[in-house]
């Protein structure tokens, strides 16, 4: 699942501060690596499972129907960053966390360093299921370790280029295959009064997707300490590229997900969007007047002839520390994210784009999509999914990193700073945040 980085209320922040102090105080008591064994309970069990996906109950109902001895109760709430993650931490602190929970990839390391997750590597079935998943989605739940598994991948957000094929054609612009061509197209489009795309100041995970595609890293973890690389060469290359577009007024800078942003797409002012697979629905609902005019192509490359894609979003189903039913929880999580019936249900009710190889070939994901002029757009995303690097690792304080970098990006969009400076500040504040939580930082 994608981060909906909505304004976090002051209230949430207050609670976060309280919870952090609470966690720090509780660590000494609850620490310790007493890994639960992955054995069947031998009796009927009821699992609790928290997710904010509307309609996930349908898939769970299929499971409950077939598994009388392992019943799953669905709990719900707002999306992760809007409160559910904080609730998880509160519940871990209080000792009444659910057995399973939905956690986005970029939030998983945070739960890991707070010692909130069970290592699923204890369960043979989970380890054996690795082959069913795309390499990189599996990499998102092993968190860069060799033999630890902290969740079962659920969905992914491989990125591609959504573009107004009608406008590109009228203007006589070829679909850009490199970022250099993309910039040239931006100049042509600007001359015609439009913008090639909108640079989002708040979707830092989209920017991370660009860095991901460029082969960059933001974090690394060698088991002992974290390395923070927001200012790595690749990251700065991406920042300079977009900085140039912003400075020359070649991209719009509307705040993303607002009405004016929707309107910019709906009115044809903005011609393309480098987004993830789930963005297909965002365009269809935000720009209804443009139905039939959009197409999807693989993302522009840094070097001609390359084939790399970024990822934006995606989530896993994790099992929380303290569960009495690791075996059953893992079994359910595997079924939910690998079985064809569950993936079909999730795709139909909530447009979940599966993280497994087989899931990408679901019948609904090979059909043409009307809004995109009948193009079978999911074929493009399946191709992109195979091109995502398995090496990208998220840090343990992404909420803070996103917020700080976003502040800098807003300043860059208004012309008072640059994207590069924003990353430098984000780098410094992230290291501070890690050290404040006593998380070891390399260098």
């Amino acid at each position: 699942m994608r981060h909906t980085k909505r304004a976090v209320t002051a209230a949430l922040l207050t609670s976060a501060a309280l919870a952090l102090t609470g966690c720090a105080a509780g660590d000494s008591g609850s620490g310790g690596g007493d890994a639960a064994s992955c054995e069947p309970a031998g009796e009927d069990v009821t699992l609790t499972f928290t997710s904010w996906i509307p309609g996930i109950e349908d898939a769970v109902a299929i499971w409950n129907e077939a598994n009388a001895d392992i019943q799953v109760e669905v709990q719900t709430g707002p999306s992760g960053n809007a409160g559910t993650y904080q609730n998880f931490f509160n519940q871990l602190e209080a000792g009444n966390a659910p057995d399973l929970g939905q956690i986005e990839y970029d939030a998983l390391p945070n739960f890991r360093v707070q010692d909130g997750l069970e290592d699923l590597a204890a369960c043979e079935d989970v380890v054996a299921a690795q082959d069913q998943f795309l390499d990189w989605t599996w990499g998102q739940v092993t968190l860069g370790t060799e033999d630890e598994v902290y969740g079962v991948p659920q969905d992914q957000g491989p990125m591609a280029l959504f573009y107004r094929s009608d406008l590109f054609e009228q203007a006589g612009i070829e679909v850009p295959t490199t970022w250099e061509e993309y910039r040239e197209a931006a100049v042509t489009i600007r001359e015609q009064g439009g913008y090639i795309t909108n640079f989002s100041q708040t979707d830092i995970n989209q920017f991370a997707g660009f860095v991901w595609q460029a082969g960059g890293q933001w974090f690394a973890n060698d088991g002992d300490a974290w390395t923070v690389e927001l200012t790595s060469d690749e990251s700065m290359t991406v920042a300079d590229y977009w900085q140039d577009l912003i400075e020359n007024d070649l991209v719009a800078t509307y705040p993303a997900w607002t009405d004016e942003w929707n309107n910019a797409y709906n009115s044809g002012e903005v011609w393309s969007w480098n987004s993830a697979v789930w963005g297909a629905n965002s365009i269809a609902s935000g720009a209804p007047d443009t139905a039939g005019d959009w197409s999807v192509a693989l993302a522009p490359q840094w070097e001609s002839g390359d084939s790399a894609a970024g990822n934006w979003g995606g989530s896993s189903i994790a099992v929380f520390k303290g569960t009495d039913h690791l075996y059953e929880a893992a079994k359910f999580a595997l079924w939910l994210n690998t079985s064809e019936e569950a993936l079909t249900s999730l795709n139909q009710t909530a447009a979940i784009y599966p993280a497994t190889e087989a899931g990408l070939e679901l019948p609904t994901l090979t059909e043409g999509v009307e809004f995109y002029g009948g193009q079978p757009i999911y074929d493009v995303f399946a191709e992109a999914a195979a091109q995502v690097s398995p090496d990208f690792v998220w840090g343990p304080t992404m909420t803070q990193t996103y917020a700080d970098v976003s502040d800098g990006f807003k300043a860059a969009a208004s012309g008072s700073s640059t994207l590069g400076e924003a990353l430098e500040k984000g780098q410094a504040s992230t290291i501070d945040a890690l050290e404040a939580q006593s998380i070891p930082v390399a260098e």
Partner: protein
Amino acid sequence: MSTSIEPDATSAMAAVNPRGIGRGGDTHPGAGRARGPRESLLSRSGAMLVMAIFTLYFLVPIWWLLVASTKSRGQLFSTNPLWFADFQLFQNIGALFAYRDGVYLKWILNSLLYAGLGAVVATVLAGMCGYALAKYRFPGRETIFNIVLGGVLVPATALALPLFLLFSRAQLTDTFWAVFLPSVVSPFGVYLSRVFAEASVPEELLEASRLDGASELRTFFTVSIRLMFPALITVFLFQFVTIWNNFFLPLIMLRSEELFPVTFGLYAWNSTINQFPELRTFVLVGSLLSIVPLIVTFLLLQRYWRTGLGSGAIK
């Protein structure tokens, strides 16, 4: 804006008035204005202008909400945001009520239950507490009152997490009680009740009641509570609105959708709107409908509230 203002609540008149509400007062605002100096036309129209601007400022968002609720999803961004397109309000409401087996209606009922019942209990408790603090002399009275007063200063938000940990111990999280119990506490209500009881419930009347053989409890419920009515209505309204709008406590306490109040339910939907755009219409229509109970409550009770505040102003 022209109901009567309560006369000085301590006057014997209120005590004699069998209904005890002081609605029989005859000081009409008009009479008061005639006595004072007339405002110049300029300053009056200036004041009107400021008020008009503020009215507009507060009403435009509601107008936008109303208009947006009548549109189909496709028209939301493509038509004038402040004027109607195809009128689809009733289809939208129908779709909202049908979505996920009418979970929205369940939320509205929950909110009414939390806020309505919670406010009634909170009012009774605050009224009794304030009355006791005002009318009985006992050691530690001021200390208790000061502690309660201190409670007014602690924001409910800061208490939510400790409450969650407490309720976790009692295994009461994710239950009706997790939201209801903290809602029946109103330090502000105690404060208001005490101040009001001191002013509006004469000792002589209590003496008379005691001489007639009424128990303290009976005196409270038959005599004092009527004298305190404007204050209690105020406490009720405040508490109703507070509980209705208290979204942070349910956010921390509740996991089961069928227990959500409407504010939290709408927030949960809204938080996933980018990913599930079809929820947008539901959030809009749901927000519009969710303010209706508040408006109704205010329209029904506002005159009591105004008398309550008015009497406070005279004091």
